[in-house]
């Protein structure tokens, strides 16, 4: 790997002065670690005792960087005030035979699937640093103590620091992982604390460089247009018509359905692209609209048979014989992710190799995309990671924007090209949260006990989008996430003697993908809102009705109780204010929420307060967990109140924030977070609380108006 690939000169702006200076921005781990001694994969130490902790996962706002650093620092016994971090690149990980493990950051896995090996990394470094001091002083290592990176030998009153012994420690053999004893979380001093994030400073003055801000010498910019109808083709475009526009360097066919204008600046590229005459072949999908999709989904609701995800007893027979029967059909729409930083990627392609700068949740998938689009082997490609301006699942496995940037840059060999999607392109060419409907039926006995439950989800499958040959019979448990029998990840929290959970796969031409919380969000709405309908039919309090079904699910129940207790369930509220409750499980964590809302006589909704409870097993940083819960409420409420992408003539109608609104500060309710960790498992944090937001609010509305709301978003519903 040549030096220019490792250490890119990046022109950045001097703060305030506006002078373009040549600054060295250390995108690659090697560049930053130059002055530090690598003790092991996870820890490098500078002579001034700064501990550089390596982070393989992506930081997109969720705080995983701070949490992972806390876990390493806890075992390392270093001085937290001297901790800094650096990202591992996928090229480096590949060259080291994936020594840093998985880099993909989705499914709330950042901490829960790497806590063990990162802590072992911190502990191994500590053991080596102590051994180096012991060797130097010729004393048994057992006589040494360490606190905040200062090693002490009490008997001889000798002291040294990690910075001073790092070089010697680096030459020692690492300890056998099997001999490493990790700390009991009860004795944590750095982990487990609600510390502020360690990556805030450059977010305060505009100096943080996101991928969209990357500037390279001689860089060109590209704006892109994809066929508005998914599956349509690019027929022709008139490059001559815009050739004389300011700054235009060329018009590029990117692939069968995509054209790009390349110019000196992005603004020039965008303006010229808007003026470019383009002919599309929209294909047969241009006939599809939201009504035809809804009818397609309804066929899955009405179909005689569907994939059986879970069966207990005989739901159909019991329903037929039940004293009281409750039925409802719910629905949720397609939803765009709308990351604040739009899709973008900067690529430089030459025969020597490919360099890309990209906001990615899966740097290894970006590397693979760069390799396949360029035709160069993986070893000749490198991904320069930046932190992301939001991720939400959009930038994981789907590396469409990375592939496009490489395909464009390939046509300008040796010249870096930055591709930025306009917000319109970003909103209309997403991998949307899958649309679905759900029919539910419940049977009650004479005493109002739930004896049978039938859940039929009909909708689009993410797995089938990713792999069209996925399963022709539609056996897709993932679309039933949260209504699973299996314990541990997304288990249904109720015991129903006669239960039938089914999924009817009904795919469309609209691309779908994981959307923060994935299918727990929709399934949480379906089952938890229906549970309130059934409780009402049984004449029971929604909390008491749930509790009676949860004795075999003590962790679900404990979290539900924690939310209810904090919210004061059953205590009087101001006139006109009503409560709603919900619980659900996803990403290995248990969540519950209580919402307090009022609905005015004119049907105006006000959400006053939300209490959320979460058991994520281990609470590595309670303050950051609370931040994620607050953010989850905002994310969940945007979807509840406004979120909807509709289809007309085969294309997505909503294209920017005026038609796809996002919650604003004035609508944000007061959020109270109750963290009830049991320290006997590791669950996720970034996603699991979103799925209880919508159902708790809808249940509160139901309590307020006496009318269930069964279709989202609320902007389309008359509440009174």
């Amino acid at each position: 790997m040549n030096v220019s690939r490792r250490q890119f000169l990046v022109t950045s702006a001097a703060a305030g002065g506006g002078l373009a200076l040549g600054l060295h921005v250390p995108f690659s781990a090697e560049a930053k670690a130059a002055a530090a001694t690598e003790v092991n994969l996870w820890v490098a130490i500078r002579p001034d005792d700064t501990c550089v902790i390596r982070i393989a996962r992506a930081e997109m706002g969720q705080g995983t960087l701070t949490g992972l650093a806390q876990l390493v620092a806890e075992e390392l016994e270093c001085d937290w005030s001297k901790v800094t971090t650096e990202g591992v690149t996928p090229g480096r990980n590949l060259a080291a035979k994936r020594a840093w493990g998985e880099m993909g950051t989705g499914g709330s896995r950042g901490i829960r699937t790497s806590h063990e090996y990162v802590r072992q990394g911190g502990a191994a470094a500590r053991i080596m640093l102590l051994q180096a001091a012991a060797d130097e002083w010729k004393v048994p290592v057992s006589e040494l103590t360490v606190e905040k990176g200062v090693i002490t030998h009490a008997a001889s009153k000798k002291k040294t620091t990690y910075g001073k012994v790092a070089a010697k420690a680096a030459k020692l053999s690492p300890p056998d992982v099997k001999t490493i004893q990790l700390k009991d979380p009860k004795s944590w001093k750095v982990a487990g604390q609600g510390l502020n994030r360690i990556d805030t400073r450059d977010k305060l003055d505009g100096s943080k460089v996101y991928s969209i801000d990357v500037k390279l010498p001689g860089m060109l910019n590209a704006a892109i247009k994809q066929c508005p109808v998914f599956g349509g083709k690019l027929v022709s475009y008139d490059a001559v018509a815009i050739a004389a526009k300011p700054g235009v360097k060329g018009v590029v066919k990117v692939d069968d359905s995509t054209v790009a204008v390349v110019a000196d600046t992005w603004w020039h590229a965008k303006k010229a692209l808007d003026a470019l005459p383009i002919t599309w072949d929209e294909g047969p999908n241009a006939k599809v609209n939201s009504a035809s999709i809804a009818a397609h989904l309804k066929s899955g609701i009405d179909a005689e048979k569907a994939f059986v995800g879970w069966k207990e007893g005989d739901a159909a027979k019991t329903l037929a014989a039940s004293a009281k029967r409750v039925e409802a059909v719910y629905g949720t729409p397609f939803l765009a992710h709308s990351t604040m930083e739009p899709m973008n990627c900067t690529a430089k392609v030459s025969a020597e190799g490919v360099d890309i700068w990209v906001p990615t949740q899966n740097a290894e998938a970006s590397l693979a995309a760069a390799s396949s689009a360029s035709g160069l082997p993986l070893e000749k490609c490198e991904v320069h990671r930046t932190d992301l301006g939001c991720g939400f699942g959009r930038r994981g496995g789907n590396q469409d924007y990375t592939r496009q940037a490489v395909l464009i840059a390939k046509q300008f060999p040796g010249v870096p090209v930055k591709l930025i999607w306009s917000r319109e392109e970003d909103t209309t060419h997403d991998f949307y949260r899958p649309i679905s409907q759900c029919k539910l039926a419940a049977g009650l006995d004479e005493n109002g006990n739930l004896t049978a439950l039938h859940v039929r989800v009909s909708g689009q499958s993410i797995n089938a989008w990713v792999n069209p040959n996925f399963d022709p019979e539609g056996k897709d448990q993932r679309q039933l996430q949260g209504i699973w029998q299996a314990a541990g990840d997304a288990q249904f929290g109720y015991t129903v003697p006669n239960l039938l959970v089914e999924y009817a796969m009904r795919n469309t031409h609209v691309p779908v993908g994981p959307w923060r919380g994935v299918n727990t969000n929709q399934n949480g709405v379906y089952t938890e809102c229906f549970m309130d309908e059934v409780a009402k039919a049984a004449g029971k309090d929604p909390l008491e009705f749930r509790r009676a079904l949860m004795s075999k699910h003590p962790k679900h129940l404990a979290v539900l109780n924690a939310a209810a207790e904090k919210a004061g369930w059953g205590t009087p509220l101001p006139p006109g204010v009503h409560r709603g409750i919900a619980q659900f499980m996803g990403y290995g964590s248990y969540s519950a929420a209580v919402a307090e809302v009022s609905v005015s006589p004119a049907g105006e909704l006000k959400i006053h307060r939300m209490v959320l409870a979460l058991n994520c097993g281990h609470a590595v940083n309670p303050a950051q967990i609370a931040a994620q819960v607050e953010g989850s409420v905002a994310y969940g409420l945007s979807a509840t109140l406004y979120g909807e992408n509709t289809v007309e003539n085969g294309r997505i109608v909503e294209d920017n924030f005026h038609t796809y609104p996002i919650l604003k500060l004035a609508q944000m309710p007061k959020v109270e977070t109750v963290i009830v960790p049991t320290y006997d498992f590791w669950g996720g944090v970034g996603e699991p609380t979103i799925c209880v937001v919508a159902p708790s609010v809808l249940n509160a509305i139901h309590a307020a108006t006496g009318k269930p709301v069964r279709q989202l978003p609320l902007k389309n519903q008359k509440l009174v």
Partner: protein
């Protein structure tokens, strides 16, 4: 070609008059702290101050500005992130991904410049920027805290005068 007064310095910017200030700042001047989010004045990621007023630079053309119009971007708000809003943002640990925060900080600082002690309703009305991470609860808290921080030296000065 336009003459713009950016962060206290008048400079020539080589762009057409219809270029949005956002793109002139980002691509010509090299100030990338001001962010593109929507291009249609919906999200506020591009917020800057023009003559002390918060403005959305994505719909403010360079041609509409005179060299006497004082433009302040996030980079020019203070030296070393020492503005009361920036201090409060750090203390309250507001940012998550951080992408919208330049705009949020510019909107909050413009609010406080006019209203030293805003109420929750004032904050609701003034803070219309989108944060997709959902940091709103902390933004509200940090604006109240920034008001306290900004008032603190004055309060001390008053005490000093009394003594």
């Amino acid at each position: 070609m336009a003459k713009l007064n950016i962060n206290g310095k008048v400079q020539e910017v080589k762009v057409e008059d219809d270029t949005p200030l956002l793109w002139a700042l980002r691509e010509q001047v090299g100030l990338t702290g001001t962010k593109y989010g929507c291009g249609v004045a919906q999200c506020g990621s591009c917020s800057v101050h023009i003559n002390g007023e918060v403005r959305r630079s994505c719909v403010t053309t360079v041609g509409s500005l005179a060299p006497t119009d004082k433009i302040v971007t996030i980079e020019g708000l203070s030296k070393g992130a020492t503005h009361a809003v920036q201090k409060a943002w750090a203390e309250v640990d507001v940012p998550q991904c951080g992408y919208c925060q330049s705009g949020q900080i510019m909107a909050a600082s413009a609010l406080l410049a006019k209203n030293a002690k805003p109420t929750d309703a004032d904050i609701d009305a003034a803070m219309t920027n989108i944060c997709r991470c959902g940091t709103y609860q902390r933004i509200r808290k940090a604006i109240h805290r920034a008001a306290e921080i900004a008032a603190a030296p004055k309060a001390k000065a008053k005490e000093g005068a009394k003594a």
